[in-house]
């Protein structure tokens, strides 16, 4: 019953606005807001590889590329995902927990995915990686707490895990730029579709790194100085959660995609347009709401690829589980 479980969101949409105004319901592949785009799902079912999940009118829904190559998205209510493809054990647990979420965001999906991995449902390697990542995060939060020692104890306890999370996120933009360099080299060597795909991947990575850095740099500067952090927290009790959450949205999905790129490099698959196509179609587009200037709008648009199609058979369960283990 795929037809009744899905709806197609068409194209012919208005141009994305600039100046950071919400753009309403643009396509998930030319999103106005992060919530239109959704969060990249660390699924292990090949049919749901790099799908995104977002809040829909009737509850959470999956956003997939059309397999036919036509524009627009395939939207599937998460509760009906099993009508589209048989989810793995891991994804059954993941979907069940997401259906219980009041609101979908990168941090919430990451926590649920980690719980599924720790249950061993994505394999022993993903389990070990998830446990190790949890330990590392706890250790980093302790270190951050020690660094924030000068500020109020209550604030420091609240800020420490956020500072640690910001530092972890800040590791991504340099990796994205490194990926962009290899993708640009690949584009320079290749011609035709391969060159164009590699160029798109490079441009997406660069644009995402740029917005990630722009959000994280002031945050890290403030968090590195206990007095500044204390003053910011005193003037706004929610600080730095909104900015951190925005940075998490900007960089969402990229840890998995970076590992996917590495796996393709190791297996010497980047010579093939199919793998490049699979990676390009999985890249999360930035939303129009990020752009405050025409130049930023151009950078945002560089991450859009509304016409890409799903690449059948590009990812198998074993590969997706390896990515989970590499990016816990």
């Amino acid at each position: 019953m795929i037809a009744s479980a899905t709806q197609r969101q068409g194209d012919g949409l208005p141009r994305a606005p600039v100046n950071g105004r919400p753009a309403g319901s643009l396509s998930p592949f030319r999103p106005g807001r992060f919530s239109d785009r959704g969060v990249v799902l660390p699924a292990t079912t090949p049919a749901f590889a790099f799908a995104r999940v977002r809040d829909g009118a009737q509850g959470p829904e999956l956003v997939l590329r059309n397999a036919t190559g036509t524009r627009g998205a395939l939207l599937i209510p998460l509760s009906a995902a099993a009508d589209y493809a048989r989810p793995t054990l891991h994804d059954r647990a993941l979907f069940a927990d997401i259906l219980r979420l009041p609101r979908i965001g990168p941090a919430q999906v990451a926590a649920i995915a980690r719980a599924a991995a720790r249950a061993g449902l994505a394999g022993r390697a993903a389990l070990a990686a998830a446990c190790a990542a949890a330990e590392a995060e706890a250790r980093e939060a302790q270190e951050a707490l020690a660094a924030l020692g000068g500020s109020d104890r209550q604030d420091a306890l609240r800020l420490a895990p956020l500072a640690a999370a910001a530092r972890r996120l800040a590791l991504l933009p340099p990796q994205l730029r490194a990926l962009a360099v290899t993708a640009e080299a690949c584009a320079a060597r290749a011609s035709g579709e391969r060159g164009e795909l590699a160029g798109f991947i490079a441009a997406s990575a660069r644009a995402t790194a740029r917005f990630g850095d722009a959000l994280l740099a002031p945050l890290l500067a403030a968090l590195d100085d206990p007095a500044t952090a204390a003053a910011a927290a005193a003037s706004d009790p929610s600080w730095p959660s909104p900015a951190l959450s925005r940075a998490a949205w900007v960089l969402d999905g990229w840890p998995l995609l970076l590992r996917r790129w590495e796996a393709a490099e190791e297996q010497r698959q980047l010579a093939g347009s199919r793998t490049l196509q699979a990676i390009a179609s999985a890249l999360p587009p930035l939303p129009a709401e990020l752009a405050a200037t025409a130049e930023e709008e151009e950078a945002v648009r560089a991450t859009w690829r509304p016409e890409a199609q799903a690449v059948q058979g590009a990812h198998d369960q074993a590969l997706l589980e390896r990515l989970r283990a590499a990016a816990p």
């Binding site: 054990l89 449902l121 394999g123 391969r194």
Partner: protein, 439 residues
């Protein structure tokens, strides 16, 4: 032939026997040792029986780049074991290579040979730039030398691996093929062994290379066609493309010789398929890839030869029968000896046993390989027996999961691990049922 110092025939036979059963890592070490010998002598005979496995293990055993390997690189797909070669075949028996290498080396002045050695020092055959750069010196010189030999005859004093007339013709053919070494190398680099490139990615270059070969001679077209069939048939309609190119070539000879290339391809295909013994000793993902590639080759060849002569269909049927027989031997062996027996032992030992959870990944890999081999076999025809074997294996693992006590220590194989094995063998619904029953 004399054995290397300290290696008598009995030792050599013993080593050959042991290597036939060795794991890939051990083979890698032995090959590395042999590759470092200045004179390999009879140590070469240790490698000969392993060649089919080496061909499947390229990512594990990286061979150093050498003059001979670079020379053969563009026509490597033509090389076959001496006992598989028959007169009239377009393939090249490996026994012809020492003579070809010696003649090609003589064709280069001393300083050019030194330059090639310097370029290849510490490089492996994966180092495309080193291979290309040394090849740019070796291939034209070898092409000219082999061409001259075909015209003027073999130099005296050669140890002949075959009849002189056959060797002379073979060298002439290789010389012509080497005139296409540049485009062939470019094309082959787009399809490293163990991968199947997208057809649209290689189609254009395949057509150009085939057309260049046809312009040289019908014989060159036939050899090039054989290389392209062996490397690219799983990727797309390569025979159809070659027929089109052959039809357009002047004189009509190319189209006729394409038939000879197809005959050689099909006649030697069964011998090029992996055998169950060699397959069992490879890492599971390599086994999966090798079987998938072999099935894709047989499947595509079936589509390609269409209504061509019935004897070609018979050859293809031989390859298909052999492949199904291989899978009928390998799948049950993988399921019972490499998956169910270790799992049953772990269950029998209980939490105090020695079967630690770190083995589970290897067991999952075995399950995945078995499932993938059955999926590949299905494409060749009815293999209900293999599908039933998979289902029985999943049921056996379910029974183990049901009998497993609650609360196994985290470092032991537990119910979730078994559920994942069931998921691989029979899908997530069966795994969920098994977890529900066990719970």
């Amino acid at each position: 032939m004399t054995a290397p110092t300290g290696l008598d025939r009995r030792t050599l036979a013993d080593l050959t026997e042991r290597l036939a059963r060795a794991r890939p890592e051990a083979i890698r070490d032995v090959i590395a040792l042999i590759d470092r010998l200045p004179e390999r002598g009879e140590a070469d005979s240790l490698i000969a029986p392993m060649r089919p496995r080496l061909a499947l293990m390229r990512h594990i055993v990286r061979r150093p780049a050498s003059f001979g390997r670079v020379l053969a690189h563009p026509f490597e797909d033509l090389l076959v074991a001496p006992n598989a070669w028959r007169r009239g075949s377009l393939s090249v028996p490996r026994t012809a290579m020492p003579v070809a290498i010696a003649l090609a080396a003589e064709a280069l002045p001393e300083d050019a040979r030194r330059d090639v050695s310097a370029r290849l020092a510490d490089a492996t055959m994966d180092d495309a730039e080193a291979v290309r750069s040394a090849g740019a010196t070796i291939w034209p010189a070898a092409a000219a030398r082999f061409g001259a030999i075909e015209a003027a005859g073999l130099p005296p004093g050669l140890a002949l691996p075959m009849r002189a007339a056959d060797l002379r013709a073979l060298l002439g053919g290789l010389g012509e093929t080497l005139r296409l070494a540049g485009p062939l190398t470019e094309l082959l680099s787009a399809a490293p062994r163990g991968t199947v490139p997208a057809w649209e990615q290689v189609e254009h270059a395949l057509r150009d290379t085939a057309a260049e070969a046809a312009a040289l001679s019908p014989e060159c077209f036939a050899r090039t066609a054989l290389i392209l069939m062996r490397r690219f048939i799983a990727a797309g309609p390569v025979v159809g493309l070659l027929r089109e190119v052959g039809e357009r070539a002047a004189g009509g000879g190319a189209e006729r010789r394409l038939g000879a290339a197809l005959d050689t391809f099909l006649a030697e295909l069964p011998g090029q398929l992996p055998d169950a013994g060699a397959l069992a000793l490879l890492p599971y993902p390599v086994q999966q890839a090798a079987v998938a590639e072999a099935v894709a080759i047989v499947e595509r060849a079936g589509q390609e030869i269409g209504t061509w002569q019935p004897e070609r269909r018979d050859n293809l049927r031989d390859a298909q029968t052999r492949l199904i027989a291989l899978l009928r031997r390998r799948v049950p062996e993988c399921l019972s000896a490499e998956l169910l027996e270790p799992l049953a032992r772990a269950a029998a030992e209980g939490p105090a046993g020695r079967s630690r959870a770190d083995r589970i990944e290897e067991l999952e890999a075995a399950a995945r390989a078995a499932w993938a081999m059955v999926a590949a076999a299905r494409r060749l025809g009815a293999v209900d027996d293999l599908a039933i074997a998979l289902r029985h294996a999943a049921e056996a693992v379910s029974a183990l999961a049901a009998s497993m006590p609650q609360g196994a220590p985290a470092d032991r194989i537990g119910r979730t691990d078994l559920a994942r094995i069931i998921e691989i063998l029979a899908g997530p619904d069966a795994a969920e049922r098994a977890l529900a029953m066990a719970g």
